[in-house]
Symmetry: C2
Subunit: 196 residues, 2 copies
């Protein structure tokens, strides 16, 4: 029996991520992908049922990677300040070090595939955040609030900053660069807002 060529699989994955990230989901196609990956269109259908299966499979894989990166060194029993800061550093590092993967993820999150994406994200969230917030509330570090409110205040600003950074220019047309000090400054605002 002939074995699958893992390099081929990886080439398909990598090219798919790069194409979606760079040219947008609306310009992504199987024939295009096959050509870019140096593979026959038919080969892709050995690995994936169809276009949708390819995109959702890859995005779930990437979601898991993202999760792991986000949880690196994270201790759910740490103080609220420290735990949240670790999360910020991890999320920022992943987004900035894996520009293509992050942009791919973002593209899928804003598409008709988003429903199938949510499980990957929700899994991530439960894993990383489950007990952490409870602990912080019990310790009296933060007020009790719905999960959605917490996420919106705690992380949405970070992702907005990263977005400004990736777009290269800001709302008013000037240049904008993400930096450790900008992150720290924003983090302080967010922390103050959440703290009791």
């Amino acid at each position: 029996m002939r074995y699958r060529d893992e390099n081929k699989m990886q080439a398909i994955r990598d090219c798919a991520i790069e194409m979606v990230a760079k040219n947008g989901l609306e310009n992504f196609g199987i024939n295009r992908l096959a050509k870019a990956a140096g593979v026959s269109p038919a080969t892709i259908y050995i690995y994936y049922k169809d276009k949708e299966d390819l995109l959702t499979s890859i995005s779930i894989e990437e979601g898991v990677k993202m999760t792991r990166a986000t949880l690196k060194g994270f201790d759910p029993n740490a103080s609220f300040r420290e735990g949240l800061w670790v999360q910020w550093k991890n999320r920022a590092a992943f987004s900035l070090d894996n520009l293509l993967a992050a942009e791919f993820f973002e593209q899928l999150r804003n598409s008709t595939y988003k429903d199938k994406m949510r499980e990957a994200i929700s899994l991530e969230f439960r894993k990383s955040m489950g007990s952490f917030i409870e602990n912080a509330v019990k310790r009296g570090e933060i007020n009790e609030m719905p999960l959605e409110v917490y996420w919106s205040v705690a992380f949405a600003p970070l992702y907005a900053l990263i977005r400004f950074h990736n777009e290269g220019q800001s709302l008013d047309g000037r240049k904008f660069k993400f930096s450790e000090s900008i992150m720290k400054q924003t983090f302080d605002c967010v922390l103050k807002g959440l703290s009791k």
Copy 2:
């Protein structure tokens, strides 16, 4: 001479917005649009140069509408608390009352058309926010900070909440509904984070 049928133009616009919002940018096509709007494909090319021109033109139009809605009753000389609250109420109201338009906008913001979209957004921002923040800093209500940090802390959480609401379910799989009290609670967090 024969005059343009404004109903036809409006039907094309409305259908385009609805189709992109409901089926995603990746499933939007001119032939499809023509059929949905009850119009010949060729007619669309009387109004718009090509597919890209159609999408960018409509999104700029919608951007202007959004701006106007956001600025309703907004006074750049109001106190920081009041001014920001008016902005929140206006933005939330627009997003919730114009679900299709808001989703259309979001789709374009996350596509390869985003560069051409930015001018519409940046224009909006300058109009609405220019002097407001300056005033608040001068009055000592908030600290001085880069525009991007301000926007990220002040508005990203609101849009994240609206997104949770529209997705119908939240991170952990349970239902989530946006409400006045949720908004108020989140607003208080954000305000506290930004205040001196």
